[in-house]
């Protein structure tokens, strides 16, 4: 494909994605759906989450009807995350962004199917958490491979550590009997930011060719730096929250 054709194709994709995505959300919201049971966050409000759940519902129903076990769905998520890593490593940033969002969506479906079929068992929750960490690592390892030769490697590694620490602080707090549901950047937010950042970053690269300090995919780098800062800030936010709420003397 010639560069001019590539730019034109990227422009068509950008307009198409924005038009289809925004009109779908608009049509969903116009139906005034019942969002009372949907928990939102600062970044992903109940409307967006409800719209996403609505799109995932056909697959959820199918998996429940086929009696697919939540563990099998988790393993499928792991395979998609590995594919995401391969796509990132191979420079297929646009496809990797969608695959990452797909992996995050499978995680949502997995939890919903588990609650409907097995009542959300502790064994299932444990397995799901462990697989989620490997899935996070796979996606980030692809980015490590892609940016291995430049300074962007450091924000990628900081984001990987930050993502793990966000999960660890909550797991450790819950192990000590404290609740830890605070945090501006939890897993769904991370997946949406990195996934959509990759999709639009790839399109921006092909439309404008903007590089950040000689590194390709400037928008993706911007997102990676933001994630590195915000995930670690979330981990610290959780740490402070748990320290305030756990009994005992000041450390």
């Amino acid at each position: 494909m010639t560069p001019a054709l590539q730019t034109g194709f990227a422009l068509v994709l950008l307009v198409g994605i924005l038009a289809v995505g925004l009109s779908s959300i608009f049509l969903y919201m116009r139906r005034s759906p019942d969002l009372s049971s949907v928990r939102g966050s600062a970044l992903l409000g109940p409307g967006i989450r409800g719209w996403h759940f609505e799109n995932l519902r056909p697959f959820e129903e199918l998996l429940v009807r086929w009696r697919v076990s939540p563990a099998a769905i988790s393993l499928f998520q792991l395979a998609i995350a590995a594919l995401t890593g391969v796509a990132y490593a191979g420079g297929l940033i646009f496809a990797a962004g969608w695959l990452l969002i797909f992996a995050g969506s499978i995680d949502i479906v997995d939890g919903r199917v588990a609650r409907r079929t097995h009542g959300g068992s502790k064994r299932g929750a444990f397995l799901d958490s462990v697989i989620d960490r490997y899935a996070d690592a796979f996606a980030y390892l692809g980015l490590v491979s892609f940016y291995a030769d430049g300074w962007v490697l450091w924000p990628v590694l900081a984001g990987l550590v930050g993502g793990f620490m966000v999960s660890y602080t909550r797991a450790r707090a819950e192990g000590l009997g404290a609740s830890c549901l605070v945090g501006m950047l939890q897993r769904p937010e991370r997946y949406v930011i990195l996934g959509l950042g990759s999709v639009f970053g790839s399109l921006a690269e092909h439309i404008t060719g903007w590089h950040l300090w000689d590194q390709p995919y400037g928008v993706v780098i911007f997102v990676l730096v933001a994630l590195a800062v915000l995930t670690n800030a979330t981990a610290i936010q959780r740490m402070m929250y748990v320290l305030r709420h756990l009994p005992g003397a000041e450390p």
Partner: protein, 69 residues
């Protein structure tokens, strides 16, 4: 929340088709395997349209709901 299973299946085809189309577009955009990407895009478009164009009229939906109960 009360859509009949067939309407849900159509919705699923529309979402899955769109996903395949986007992955194919990514392969076309960023790899040398443009033909395999284009094939994936066509497959996605077909799956998407099969769910979109088969969207039923209220009469058909009512008949399907009767059949399924």
């Amino acid at each position: 929340m009360s859509e009949p299973p067939r309407e849900l299946a159509r919705k699923g085809r529309r979402v899955a088709g769109m996903f395949l189309l986007l992955i194919g577009a990514g392969v076309v955009l960023e790899s040398n395997a443009s033909w395999s990407g284009a094939a994936l895009m066509l497959l996605g478009l077909g799956v998407h349209l099969s769910g979109f164009m088969a969207q039923s009229s209220p009469d058909v939906l009512a008949r399907e709901a009767r059949e399924e109960t």
